[in-house]
């Protein structure tokens, strides 16, 4: 089932990137923009949340938590501030989908922000955009200014007062730290501190930014909101994968469309929108226009490196939120695919991942701080042909014992480390064995 009418890329030409221009306020309104906000303003806030819950929209930032549910966790207003933090940190390797929305159709996300603020009684919103997105930030700041000037935010907001205050939206510039994409690290950074993830509970819904109730959503999640409010949850659920037979309604499904990124040696790399549940092979074949001449598919990181790797025999993997169970990976992640060709060594890929995590670990938890660097050293040695079989065993043990799921770390960065390295080891064990297979004499000792 091909996607006939895009939702997120409604105003963005697919294909040739050179044709893309930013849709500013006037262009956005002329093509039906901010109609969903007007509809939301006329609705009871609780009804907006009900609609979002009914749509079963799951977060597009990586964890896939149902957005409507998240919105409903906030305590009732008590007179103090309530915040929305928009996660535009997008630093997961190989992920470059949010930048497309920010750069070409920023008002869709801004409309989603306004609707979320209305629904959850949030008076102030911050878009936390990663420091390296320079021209994107300039575009976003201009679009935000337009939204203030046109009565979306500010004294003359068409939403009136929210939570007893003037609704406001600001752009927060990050400063180069992957970990600030983790929601509580993002909040710390917003408060002007180092991006150190917090222990949970308390969860941000209760005590988030500046110790006040806070909603945190990804850019793409919020950009999907206007279409749901305008057309209804039932319409939204005609996209994506239907709930499998016999699965109870409280188990979230994979409805809707998704932005997919493709990078690596394909003929047409870029960001594309399609139904959730597209096959990896179809994504590479139809959108990516196939592998480049002379390149053969070996593996793929399907959702950023933190979700783990898909093996050569998983070329037909179905990309939806249930991919974890089916394919032995952590989850769907960001759905931005890096294609790895036959001529690239998986040992080199594992080493690259380990270097990434050792560089980006915030250093609070010993297994993450020491483990990632240790893994990097082991993998550097193995890649240089100096490794031993004992190194491989040690690496497996190391990668298997870190993460917030075994309960040894504060945040999920260590789970990413674990899944990336562990799945590469599992699925490409031969390549590692080949690297360490030759016993050699060093001095008199057999290594």
């Amino acid at each position: 089932m091909a996607l006939d009418t895009p939702i997120l890329m409604k105003r963005i030409p697919q294909g040739n990137v050179a044709n893309r221009q930013t849709v500013w306020y006037d262009g956005y309104v002329a093509t039906g923009g901010y109609a969903a906000l007007d509809k939301a303003i006329a609705m009871e806030p609780s009804k907006i949340i009900d609609e979002m819950k009914a749509s079963e929209l799951r977060g597009r930032g990586g964890a896939g938590f149902p957005a409507g549910m998240k919105w409903s966790f906030l305590p009732p207003p008590d007179g103090g501030h309530r915040f929305l933090a928009v996660n535009a940190d997008e630093s997961e390797p190989a992920t470059f989908k949010d930048q497309l929305l920010i750069n070409t159709d920023p008002h869709m996300m801004i409309e989603g922000i306004a609707i979320c603020m209305k629904a959850c009684h949030l008076d102030t919103a911050y878009v936390y955009i990663r420091g390296e997105y320079h021209h994107h930030r300039v575009t976003l700041e201009k679009a935000v200014q337009e939204a203030w000037d046109n009565g979306i935010f500010g004294e003359k907001s068409r939403m009136g007062q929210i939570n007893g205050r003037t609704p406001r939206l600001f752009v927060q510039r990050g400063a180069g730290a992957y970990i600030c994409g983790e929601e509580t690290a993002l909040l710390e950074s917003l408060e002007g501190k180092r991006g150190w993830p917090r222990n949970k509970p308390p969860f941000p819904a209760v005590s988030g930014a500046f110790a006040r109730p806070t909603v945190i959503n990804n850019v793409e999640t919020l950009a999907t909101v206007p279409a749901i409010i305008e057309n209804g949850a039932a319409w939204f659920k005609t996209h994506g994968v239907a709930r499998p037979e016999g699965v109870p309604p409280q188990v979230p499904a994979s409805y809707g469309t998704k932005l997919y990124g493709i990078s690596g040696p394909v003929n047409n790399p870029g960001v594309f929108e399609d139904h959730l549940g597209i096959k990896l092979s179809a994504l590479i074949g139809q959108h990516g226009k196939g592998m480049r001449a002379g390149k053969q598919f070996k593996a793929a990181f399907h959702g950023g490196i933190s979700m783990g790797v898909l093996g050569t025999d998983q070329y037909d993997a179905v990309l939806d939120f249930d991919i974890g169970k089916r394919c032995g990976v952590l989850g769907l992640g960001t759905a931005c695919v890096t294609v790895i060709p036959q001529d690239v060594s998986m040992v080199a890929m594992a080493r690259n991942c380990a270097r990434f995590y050792s560089h980006e670990s915030c250093g609070q938890c010993t297994p993450c701080r020491e483990g990632s660097n240790w893994a990097y050293k082991l993998l550097s040695r193995i890649e240089a042909g100096e490794g031993t079989t004992a190194d491989l065993d040690l690496l497996s043990e190391l990668a298997g014992s870190m993460g917030s799921m075994p309960g040894s770390t504060i945040c999920g960065l260590a789970d990413g480390t674990s899944w990336a390295i562990r799945t590469i080891l599992q699925k490409f064990w031969n390549e590692f064995e080949d690297k360490v297979a030759k016993p050699r004499f060093v001095g008199l000792a057999l290594r």
């Binding site: 630093s91 390797p93 470059f96 930048q99 510039r173 400063a175 730290a177 990434f356 560089h359």
Partner: protein, 175 residues
Amino acid sequence: MAWITQKSSAPNDLGRRAVPYLAPATKDRFERDFIPRYPTRRGALIQVLHAIQDEVGWLPMQAMEEVAQFIGITPSQVVDTATFYEEFFFKPRGKYTLWVCQSVSCEIMGSTALQGKISEKLGIHHGETTPDGKFTLMHVECIGACGGAPCALCNHKLHENLSSDNVDAILDSLP
């Protein structure tokens, strides 16, 4: 960034200048543009540091002391926050900072050769600055332009689909 901080505090030039980095007009601007956005003054810290670095090129100790006073926190709190982030520099850097990506998509598409080529051409490695003060080279993790891998930022400008062949022309064209 993060915990692997090169202890740049040790060789830091604590030289002072008579002219403050935060002139009264600058303070007024921060007071108007950044402070009202947050319920605490410290919330504005990172935006203030960016504004100063955009102007000065790096963050001198004296500037961070002045920021501490302006925000109403201690200088060590400012340093604590600032040193966490990779984008902040605590010593002068080149006119152009090259941020060359080395994460998975870029490595697959040839960033290792690209980095080698740049180092050879400029005679510097990661974290170093050319003697003429023109270039500072940073090897960095994913900069979010993977469709155009290998990619790099030159100051605020993004360059995509780089190769050992076209990087020469780009570097040579910079004034």
